[in-house]
């Protein structure tokens, strides 16, 4: 008996529609966010994460209304990420009904923003999203670096050190995406997941690369993740959340069934 590991379906939302990009290109439409969120809620999702991939701020209003609509009907935790750059952005999302916000690029350009946000809203609602890529060559000790702009721009920041710094500044949770794996369906980068999960005292969500249910099991058992995030395997009904939970439970992982 104890705390369950979490399954978090992720909805990438562009202009009010759920989409899923493979390596952030080749976008497929996966439906209306409110309907998709309700379906996942019924299937037993432990939380839901929205990533607003709309580039322009004009469409941010659409996201606010979408969060309001979902929060009125779905009574599990909601995280909203994408385009969160100021405390005002955070306030709007929390008032719309989000429980947590994901801060990504803004943290890279201004780490103090994480401290400011945590002090103002509490660490429990500040998730720092980290996009990491392996930069060490075969045979070298493992090293991962933070990338921005959908994995295109290196920052020179070591991913493990960066995660520790974010937690010191007040991050309550780390959402770790492997940019090498995202969209590949080859499984999480277990090395970086484990390295970061063991380096910080806050929960770590593994993301990027899930192609089957064994990948979710591996993320928790080998990657030491506290939660696993996946998108396309759920959107296109390859697997239900319930099936995923049963598989993880059968592998000896404590789950909310």
């Amino acid at each position: 008996m104890g705390l369950a590991k979490r399954i978090i379906p992720c909805l990438d939302v562009d202009n009010g529609r759920v989409v899923k990009g493979v390596q952030f290109v080749d976008i497929r439409d996966a439906g209306d966010p409110v309907e998709v969120a309700k379906r996942y809620n019924e299937q037993g999702a432990d939380e839901i994460t929205f990533l607003d991939i709309t580039a322009s701020s004009d469409d941010r209003e659409t996201t606010v209304h979408m969060v309001e609509a979902i929060a009125a009907e779905v009574f599990i935790p909601l995280t909203v990420g994408g385009g969160i750059r100021t405390c005002e952005d955070i306030r709007r999302m929390l008032n719309a009904g989000a429980d947590k916000v994901g801060i990504n690029t803004a943290a890279v350009f201004n780490p103090e923003f994480v401290r400011e946000a945590a002090e103002r809203f509490g660490s429990q609602c500040i998730v720092v999203a980290i996009d990491a890529k392996k930069v060490s060559a075969e045979g070298e000790p493992d090293k991962w670096e933070i990338f921005t702009h959908g994995g295109r721009k290196p920052t020179g920041l070591d991913a493990v050190e960066w995660a520790k710094k974010m937690v010191d500044l007040g991050a309550g949770e780390i959402l770790l995406t492997s940019m090498d794996r995202d969209g590949t369906k080859n499984g999480f980068d277990l090395g970086v997941t484990r390295a970061i999960s063991e380096a910080v005292h806050v929960p770590v969500i593994a993301s990027g690369g899930v192609g089957n249910l064994q990948h979710l099991v591996d993320g928790v058992i080998e990657g030491k993740a506290d939660a696993v995030l996946a998108a396309s395997i759920f959107h296109f009904a390859e697997y239900s959340i319930q099936e995923a939970k049963e598989t993880m439970h059968a592998a000896g992982i404590e789950m909310r069934l």
Binding site: M1, G2, L3, A4, K5, R6, N41, D46, A71, A72, E73, F75, I76, P77, R91, L94, N95, A96, G97, D99, F121, G122, S123, Q124, G172, E173, E198, H201, V202, P203, V204, D226, A227, R256
Partner: protein, 220 residues
Amino acid sequence: MSTDNKATVAVIDYGMGNLHSVAKALEHAADDNTQIIVTSDPAVIDAADRVLLPGVGAIRDCVGEMHKQGLVPSIRKAMAEKPFLAICVGIQSLMAHSEENGGVDCLNHFDGNALFFGNDHKDVDGTKLKVPHMGWNQVTQTINHPLWHGIENGARFYFVHSYYVIADNKDEVAGTCHYGHDFCVALARDNVFAVQFHPEKSHKDGLQLYKNFIHWDGKP
């Protein structure tokens, strides 16, 4: 203020932010004869049939704002006479003291304190446990209570907290959870019930608890 003879639930807003999900979940759990009012007006709290004290933010700000906004007399009055539910930091604010923010004196309704899990929290077998305690954990109901009605013993609720309460009077403990060690997650005395978890984020069982609260007559 007209309430069309509806029963009212006052959700106390002490200015710390988002009560959207609490209010929405109560509305979802309520029937047509119940009105949910988010308020910082002591007169509205005094007139309400039931009162819910949410917990938002760090304990020093939370208790500080309750005092600053003149809400403490209404909170004490409500706890003395009508069905009262405190959630999350709300339960911690009802203890004598919390060690958060370097130590804060709280409302002292329940004897006991709120303590930090610690950044080196471990399970009984020595494995590291993350803090905050975040996610779905099983709640053992240690007493029969109207607020547990229709909820399976051992049902999972959603938690996110780094501090937990220790009650001096064990007979006031209504529910426990295990995270490294057993700890209290629900307290009950007379017409007051308090929980550490977030019913508004706990899916069906959370909504059931709110429904139970809306129908509770305040008797244990």
